[in-house]
Symmetry: C2
DNA sequence: TATTGTTATACTCTATAACTATA
DNA sequence: TATAGTTATAGAGTATAACAATA
């Protein structure tokens, strides 16, 4: 028996979170639904890749370095929407764990080129397998036939700050 | 002329973030698109309500207290997906700003009932006006006709952790 | 002058453990 | 025993300012 029902005797339906939140208007807001969905999906991501101890941000960095080895820190951080100052410790950690490394960039002594280590490549292959199951869960929830449209809507929202 | 094009001369298209990220696979991932969209939308929210200095989490608390005055801290925090321990300082701040207050709950000397102050009610009305424009921008980007389905998809994703 | 890498700093959000008082 | 409120703490993520080295 929930304590909620005991206290709010005017409305026995208010015994769970869902019933409560429906009175607020929040459920009809895109921004609120986005935040709740993202929080849940990030948790599922972390759980899915728990054995590798990799978080979404780290996965993003590894992904872009795998796809385009040799990029510089501002190129990677900017593409991922990360401040270049915050990228430093983020990449330090990947380097500490021997997943990726910095190498002097040819032609510009200021910058580093970023690469996966051999170990990082092996781990990344394993990450992608585990990640595929996570992504499949998300796809099933969104609807396979509706995924492309859903992604397009999210990308449109992501551009809200531009220009 | 972007520095990216100079360094990655194999592919002149890699001069902006969007072109770079498209090689990673990340663009096809629901989780990644969700995180980028949420970050942008939260920024737009904060900007939209900047004159009131209200953040999404605070807005959520004020919304549910407005809709259901007299709820207790665990009822509100649980409905919003916030740890009860984290809720304390969050509500302290709303109380400090005279937007909401705790009152002794009838029948249980352990708990507080939460309410908006008169000032909080006035501010909340103003917040809702500013928020409506923010939400309208989001709706336009998602597509008015597609909003309900989009919300349903987000709610489905938000339940991914349940049972 | 502008950019790269970096350090420092701070704030938000989230997560866990533990304590107290009440139930 | 369980719950409400609280404190403490830690880890992510994000944001800004500043500096040295290099362009």
């Amino acid at each position: 028996m929930g304590a909620a029902g005991d206290i709010l005797e005017q409305d026995p339906d208010v015994s769970d979170d869902e019933a409560l939140i429906q009175f607020t208007g929040l459920t009809g807001y895109i921004g609120y639904a986005l935040r709740r969905a993202t929080a849940a999906v990030v948790q599922d991501f972390v759980r899915s890749l728990a054995e590798f101890d990799i978080r979404p941000t780290q996965f993003g960095v590894l992904s872009i370095i795998q796809a385009r080895p040799g990029l510089t820190q501002p190129q990677v951080s900017s593409a991922l929407g990360i401040q270049r100052s915050n990228f430093v410790t983020l990449f330090d950690e990947l380097e500490r764990r021997s997943l990726a490394y910095r190498a002097p960039a040819a032609g510009d002594r200021r910058s580093y080129a970023l690469y996966l280590t051999d170990h990082g490549k092996v781990v990344m292959d394993q990450l992608l397998i585990a990640h595929r199951q996570h992504e499949q869960r998300l796809t099933d929830l969104v609807g396979t036939a509706d995924k492309d449209k859903f992604l397009a809507q999210l990308k449109a929202l992501a551009r809200i700050g531009e220009a």
